[in-house]
């Protein structure tokens, strides 16, 4: 059987040949993935198993590699946002905003306070949807479908808010250099208010359903734990690191987009196991809701939604049709003919899964000379084989889903 899956020279074949179990049973190989229905994404792991225990795992990634870094080297800045959408597609607005903020850092653009607050709101909405999917899918993987269906309708509500803001839902391509493409409509704020009213009730119920649920606790406590030291060595960031007890959060350590104006706590876990990861994400959703409420309450008056940077910000369409100056700017921006300094920039934000960083090297031309994405999933997924060592097969699925490895971000 194993010859079918692996070439005979594979090291697992060696191990199986050598190992003699006392009861006469032998080790086996299981090919988990690439398209396994329970892994929510394209991950292949070749598992060496003793009965139902995993002894070793060999991950293969890259099944949806789309060469974003290479494409980015050949596209003007505005055409790179759609690429960032497709990395962590569960929280695209965070990626979009991170990209704009990288460019604003490069071009020294000061974004108006109101636009910064709007960005905070949309980024926190994205974080909520990201955590909502991760936690509810974790529920599905442990056999609780109801919670997932119950809270999933609220992702729909958030997507309707995105729709009001930018017209798109999943791959949002939201914003511009210096702010947003248009002011948020009253309808967007109304939908946001409705969401803030209804969602906490559902989320509380979701929490009640899981947090002290005997079956869920049995399936998750002490499953896939990782120590703080190990997590740091493996480059963990975000909720997965905080579950291990390290309170590192980019929003606090290097505040961007006025996060310093808001009062929120960074929830941490203790043991870094699946249950702690679940609880940290749960708590972060509450913090995100509180940040959104604070941002709405503190929202500066007026209707500033972008910085005044005509060199980089597309002029209103009416002006383009009737005004020479605007037409010229429009053309130059669309063609990527904007002044770009020669510089190297690293900008990081707290994405749904951790520190999402953009390392941008420019040479003064209209495209980046090099753009590297620091993708948190890619970095922490390398700990996965170690985390599932000794676990049951069913635990491996639960661990994968609690790590929230998003295939798009993993492979870029």
């Amino acid at each position: 059987m194993s010859e079918l899956l692996l070439p005979p020279e594979h090291r697992y074949a060696e191990i199986i040949k050598k190992r003699q179990n006392e009861d006469g049973s032998e080790l086996s190989i299981l090919n988990l993935g690439p398209t396994h229905p329970a892994t929510h994404g394209i991950f292949q792991n070749i598992l060496l198993m003793d009965g139902e225990r995993i002894l070793e795992a060999e991950p293969t990634i890259g099944y949806i590699h789309r060469a974003f870094e290479k494409i980015a080297e050949n596209r003007p800045f505005y055409q790179i946002t759609p690429l960032t959408d497709r990395m962590n597609y569960c929280s695209s607005p965070i990626n979009n905003m991170a990209w704009w903020m990288t460019l604003e850092k490069l071009l020294d653009i000061e974004v108006p306070k109101r636009a910064q607050y709007l960005r905070v709101i949309v980024m926190e909405l994205a974080r909520i949807t990201d955590h909502l999917i991760c936690n509810s899918i974790l529920g599905v993987d442990t056999g609780a479908y109801t919670g997932f269906l119950y809270v999933f309708q609220f992702r729909e509500k958030v997507y309707e808010i995105y729709e009001e803001i930018c017209g798109a839902r999943l791959t949002t391509n939201m914003g511009r250099i210096g702010g947003f493409e248009r002011d948020w409509s009253p309808e967007a704020f109304r939908k946001l208010d409705v969401f803030l009213e209804e969602f906490p009730i559902a989320w509380k119920e979701f929490e009640n359903l899981f947090e002290r649920n005997r079956i869920f606790i049995d399936r998750t406590v002490n499953v896939g734990p990782i120590s703080a030291e190990k997590a740091m060595a493996y480059g963990f960031t975000g909720p997965n690191l905080r579950a291990a007890g390290v309170d590192y959060d980019v929003r606090v350590s290097q505040p961007y987009s006025s996060y310093e104006d808001f009062d929120f706590i960074v929830p941490v876990g203790k043991s870094g196991d699946t249950y702690d990861r679940f609880c940290v994400r749960n708590a972060e959703v509450w913090e995100s809701l509180s940040i959104i409420r604070q941002a709405l309450a503190k929202m500066p008056a007026g209707n500033d939604f972008h910085a005044d940077v005509p060199d980089y910000y597309l002029p209103p369409k009416e002006d383009v049709y009737h005004n020479m100056e605007s037409l010229i700017y429009h053309f130059k921006i669309v063609m990527g003919e904007v002044p770009v300094p020669v510089a190297e920039i690293y900008h990081a934000v707290e994405g749904g899964n951790g520190e999402l960083g953009f390392y941008l090297v420019t040479d003064g031309s209209r495209t980046p000379y090099r753009l590297h994405f620091r993708r948190p999933c890619f970095i922490y997924y390398q700990a996965y084989p170690e985390m599932i060592k000794g676990a049951l097969l069913s635990d491996a699925i639960v661990i994968l889903s609690s790590l929230n490895v998003i295939a798009g971000e993993l492979d870029a």
Partner: protein, 173 residues
């Protein structure tokens, strides 16, 4: 106690002399260059020194500069972060174009393992001592290193998308 950038510079210069150079403050990040043969020693020093404490490797990636002279064609960039004092630094090290190789840092920072594999995959930079240096995102059968600048993104024979008709290129900016 905040960690001062001059302090980092002084300590590094005192320990490594001329192997560390080109210190500069680029926007929000303090940068320096390291001679490629000293990279593991410098990273180990930065990680373990009692005051520097750069305990986290944020990012590692390669850059290709085909225009540079033979010994500066490839760059490996390391972003380190001191979480205690909240200081980031960027370290660049240049390596040769014909035989790009550098010592691995995956024994210092575990997370460098896949990042180095990724860099190898795209640039063909050989990380000496890496436990499993093979392709990670591309398929194993691939023979080229696609992020090198000599490989165009699109088919070079295309005439309908000539960059000259779309404003500046690297050559005429």
């Amino acid at each position: 106690m905040a960690l001062d950038t001059t302090q980092i510079q002084d300590k590094l210069v005192a320990t490594f002399g001329e192997s560390v150079f080109n210190f500069s403050q680029e926007k929000s990040i303090f940068s320096l260059e390291v001679a490629s043969d000293k990279i593991t020693a410098v990273l180990l020093f930065l990680k373990n020194d009692e005051t520097l404490r750069f305990n986290f490797l944020t990012d590692l990636c390669g850059i290709h500069y085909p225009e540079n002279d033979e010994n500066h064609q490839f760059t490996v960039v390391y972003h380190l972060h001191n979480w205690i004092d909240n200081v980031r630094i960027k370290i660049k090290t240049y390596i040769s174009g014909t035989n790009p190789e550098i010592k691995t840092v995956s024994n210092i920072f575990l997370c460098a393992n896949w990042m180095e594999r990724e860099t190898y995959d795209f640039y063909g930079i050989n990380f000496i001592g890496h436990p499993q240096l093979k392709r990670i995102l591309n398929m194993d059968e691939m023979i080229s290193f696609p992020m090198r600048k000599e490989f165009p993104l699109e088919d070079g024979g295309r005439t309908d998308k000539d960059d000259r008709f779309f404003g500046r290129t690297i050559d005429n900016c």
